[in-house]
Symmetry: C2
Subunit: 285 residues, 2 copies
């Protein structure tokens, strides 16, 4: 089957107090996933640095250029002809820091996405992205990029699907919610419905563990176009790798029955211009 792709999410625990070790843990997890046959490997957000920075200086010290990440991940991806997507603390050529995701394969750096929607204290260290989220045509399918909190913006995920993404890969660092309102981590409901609404695969690779008192969810899941969770969560919310065989060709059509099609049934003429217009960040009242 042309479209059957082995997708992995490596749920690991970076440590902001030891970025070098964090980067090595990511490389080890990537290498193990590729050795296990994964063709698309998703790593968590900020996997080379950790998340809970205490100062701009700490973030700067942990920052890497996108080419550094490609140099670390590309040769490992090449062993299995895999594609890897992972989050890193990016030092841009102009010195600004971004919360970024790199897509890397045997040819090296294919794309960098800089998080559009910053969460919590991230604006203290990071500039917000100023380019749309991309869809990259890889040897294993068309992959759309987002990061963590981006999943709360249907405009972004729907836009990726409309642009042809078959799989949306979301490196994530989701804080643990001990009493989720929906009975399970809302992250899982978001992954399921994002996949269902646009008939795409959604791979959320979350981190686990804790840093400076912030516990993470360890909520990695792979959701399928039917709205089901094809893999995950990892039992016990700890370290573990999800692996799911995903027929990405399912995401190339949007038929949902004899009479319906999730995309052809759209009525864009009647959707609010405010969805995509500047200055529409607040409700009318």
């Amino acid at each position: 089957m042309e479209g059957l792709v082995r997708v992995a999410c490596c749920q690991i625990a970076p440590d902001v107090l030891d970025p070098e070790r964090s980067a090595n843990v990511a490389v080890d997890a990537l290498a193990a996933a590729v050795a296990a046959g994964a063709q698309v490997v998703v790593l968590p957000e900020l996997v080379t640095s950790g998340y809970v920075f205490a100062s701009v200086e700490e973030a700067q010290a942990a920052a890497l250029g996108a080419e550094d990440v490609a140099a670390a991940w590309g040769p490992i991806a090449a062993r299995g002809d895999a594609v890897v997507i992972g989050g890193f603390c990016e030092r841009a050529p102009d010195g600004r820091l971004f919360n970024s995701s790199a897509l890397v394969d045997r040819d090296g750096l294919r794309a960098v996405y800089r998080k559009l929607h910053l969460w919590g204290e991230e604006p203290r260290w990071f500039s917000a992205g100023d380019q749309p989220a991309p869809v990259i045509d890889t040897r294993h399918g068309r992959i759309g990029l987002g990061i963590c909190y981006d999943i709360e913006f249907p405009e972004l995920t729907r836009g990726l699907a409309l642009a042809g993404a078959e799989l949306i890969a979301l490196p994530t660092n989701w804080p643990h919610d001990p009493r989720p309102a929906d009975g399970r981590p809302i992250l899982h409901s978001l992954a399921a419905t994002t996949a269902y609404l646009s008939r795409v695969y959604v791979a959320v690779c979350d981190r686990c563990g804790a840093e400076r008192g912030l516990e993470f969810e360890g909520g990695s899941v792979i959701a399928a176009p039917d709205g089901g969770l094809r893999a995950g969560p990892v039992p016990g919310r700890g370290v573990g790798t999800l692996l799911a065989k995903c027929d990405l060709t399912e995401a190339r059509h949007k038929r949902t029955g004899e009479h319906n099609d999730a995309f052809a049934d759209r009525r864009p003429t009647y959707y609010a211009p405010a969805l995509t217009a500047r200055g529409s960040g607040q409700p009318a009242r």
Copy 2:
């Protein structure tokens, strides 16, 4: 508390073989909900006619003018100064039929919404709506209108929230899925995440029972801005009325923490123009 509103969903079972009885059942359920103190009452889709038509003629025979519906529901709403939203088979002045939702209060007909996204065989009887989904400022809060399958179009529900809806009311006739991919009816996940993403209340009033071999879900729920189900589903998927006290003022702000706001954090400059542009119904490839 100014914003505390008693919201009801009357899950009933219309019968396409007996539209007159269906209309009476709806009136009885509405009257009982108002008597129980409901201030906003949501009825199912096509509640005055039933759903599974066998011919255009059958649909035409069951169709009503919007003023007919207002005449039936308005006086009952007036008893409790309530607002009622319900679905009906609409005969427009030009003779076309629409799958519509009326919002009625003591002043009579306040708004009609004609379903934008038709499902299944509905295009055999109904014309598709050709106006945006509205938000109506009622005495009990700002209510956005959608119908059933519309909930699968985040462009519509997000647009209602951006236009100031505090509650999205969705008369629904959801077919039963005996093996839901998400472990519960996807309708419940959609209600929960639609509410969570835009920090609004979502009232899905589904029907129950069966018509001509089509079994309905009986999946009514009221979801809150935190993503939790505040009421529903009805045990056993049968006839029943949900009643939830909803603080609609919660939906007037979109703050989600010390640093974040679900609307102010949007980056519309970078969202795909295809979301709202004509001719964008198919993916790029």
